[in-house]
Symmetry: C2
Subunit: 292 residues, 2 copies
């Protein structure tokens, strides 16, 4: 009996929902603003906002509006200063979990710890966190990237990107516990990320094929895809239902579906429905003759 | 070609050497004292001190001398108070690494952290550390012993028994990193322990049989034995050369030897020599006819 299973958690996470609410509320109030980078890793949502006048800009000075939105990833302190300089008001949609990571990085730095950020160097969230330490924080995404001489016998303060994978964090902590003099770890991984990763871990052990729905640039989505790839025969990462290929499901009887934090729930549900049809040998979008 | 290899580190560690020096210096100065528990896990050394008048006592009040020696393991603060009460002077041989672990436990406790000691509950060193927290510290020696509800979303300060195994510490930190809000880890594992464990880890992968020399009640010795057991065909834990059995080495061509921190170097060397003879088919203590 072919079966498609969806993880319990899917659709927008708390931070994304909050950011979209803030954006829409400001639009309703007639405030004109641009977004510093795409508000979320979803072209559909970005397109919708563009139709309402919200342009994506790369820098404060590029915007011609009075207000500029800072997305969930947050930004380094320089951006707030730049906004002031150019007379712009910031609409701050920094995810509260990211803000907490920024706060800890600043605190560790001020208290004289070597600050170690576990995450991806060029990810906007990480750039925002590193900005709290005058750019001094070390950034690594795996144990082997860490230059041990920089932390040996040191006091190290560790902050993790909110979407980092637990096994990576554990791995790096393992080295710190051996080499550093003192280690402070602030748990800045977000709950939703943890729950989704746990659910994908579990589901991908049960099924033959996993489909992860989300932006290909989205960190949290990519982590889910990595976990799925490790555990089941095949895993796919798609952004839209029309990317699904019929041949992925030949001779397959169990499929799991999950999604990143910036994927609208309707898209996930559409993907789920389409896989159900493909798995049962039907053609998507075509009504079967014997069904009437 | 049969071969016996000895790890580079063996014999007394820094803390034990220091404790014996303090004891002997006091004896030379004519100070009469007893020892609160055996000074080290070695009957030979304890016997030597007994001949010089140092009795092993279980409590301060049991001693009839003016001075009482506190051994490398350290003791809880109550013992210092009891000594004062009974008018005794403490000769403090607490290993400086253990004293550091005590200091961190106290600090974490005073700063409101849940204190977690990674170690063996009934080990004297751990009892001394837990004593710094009015007995409130949790003690676990493995991840599965840890009641997660006691640390979930808490601020946790971690202190490791100086002789704890790195993999155990890593394992427990893995759970903390997932469940706690903030984790502070003070690196209180001692260097000698680490080095010996590393050397035994390496050597026991190379040889067929490992012999660890040390007291059967000694924590650090037992850890070495556990590591050796995991990595090679057979491992033995002995205290004296005469415990070596000829049949352990039948058809064996490579043997590794290491020793705990409270084993006198002469004993290790004697064990090494005896295995060499056994391995080459000779009889220990008997001069071969063709040699002479």
């Amino acid at each position: 009996m072919p079966e498609v299973k969806l993880t319990e958690e899917y659709g927008f996470c708390f931070g994304v929902r909050r950011a979209l609410e803030i954006a829409l509320t400001n639009l309703e109030r007639g405030i004109s603003f641009d977004s510093l980078g795409p508000i979320i890793h979803n072209e559909y949502v970005v397109g919708e906002l563009r139709r309402k006048g919200v342009e994506v800009v790369d820098s404060i000075e590029q915007s011609k509006k009075s207000h500029v939105l800072v997305r969930t990833h947050g930004v380094p302190p320089e951006i707030y200063e730049r906004a002031k300089e150019f007379g712009k008001t910031i609409i701050d949609c920094t995810c509260p979990f990211v803000a907490k990571a920024q706060w800890w990085a600043k605190k560790f730095y001020e208290e004289g710890y070597v600050v170690l950020v576990i995450g991806t160097k060029d990810h906007p969230e990480v750039i925002g966190i590193v900005g709290q330490t005058e750019g001094k924080a070390l950034v690594v995404s795996s144990q082997k990237e860490l230059d041990v001489s920089l932390i040996r016998n040191k006091r190290v303060g560790v902050v993790a990107q909110t979407t980092s994978r637990l096994d990576m964090v554990e791995d790096i902590m393992g080295l710190l516990v051996k080499e550093a003099n003192e280690v402070r770890f602030a748990n800045t991984r977000c709950n939703t990320t943890q729950r989704r990763q746990d659910e994908v871990e579990e589901l991908s052990r049960e099924v033959e094929v996993m489909v992860i729905v989300g932006g290909k640039n989205s960190s949290n989505t990519r982590r889910l895809y990595e976990i799925a790839s490790r555990n089941c025969k095949r895993a796919y990462l798609i952004e839209f239902p029309n990317e699904l290929m019929e041949e992925w499901f030949y001779n397959v009887s169990t499929v799991g579906v999950s999604a990143g934090a910036s994927t609208p729930p309707e898209i996930v549900e559409e993907v789920y429905k389409k896989i159900n049809i493909l798995l049962k040998g039907g053609t998507y979008g075509e009504r079967k003759v014997d069904e009437g």
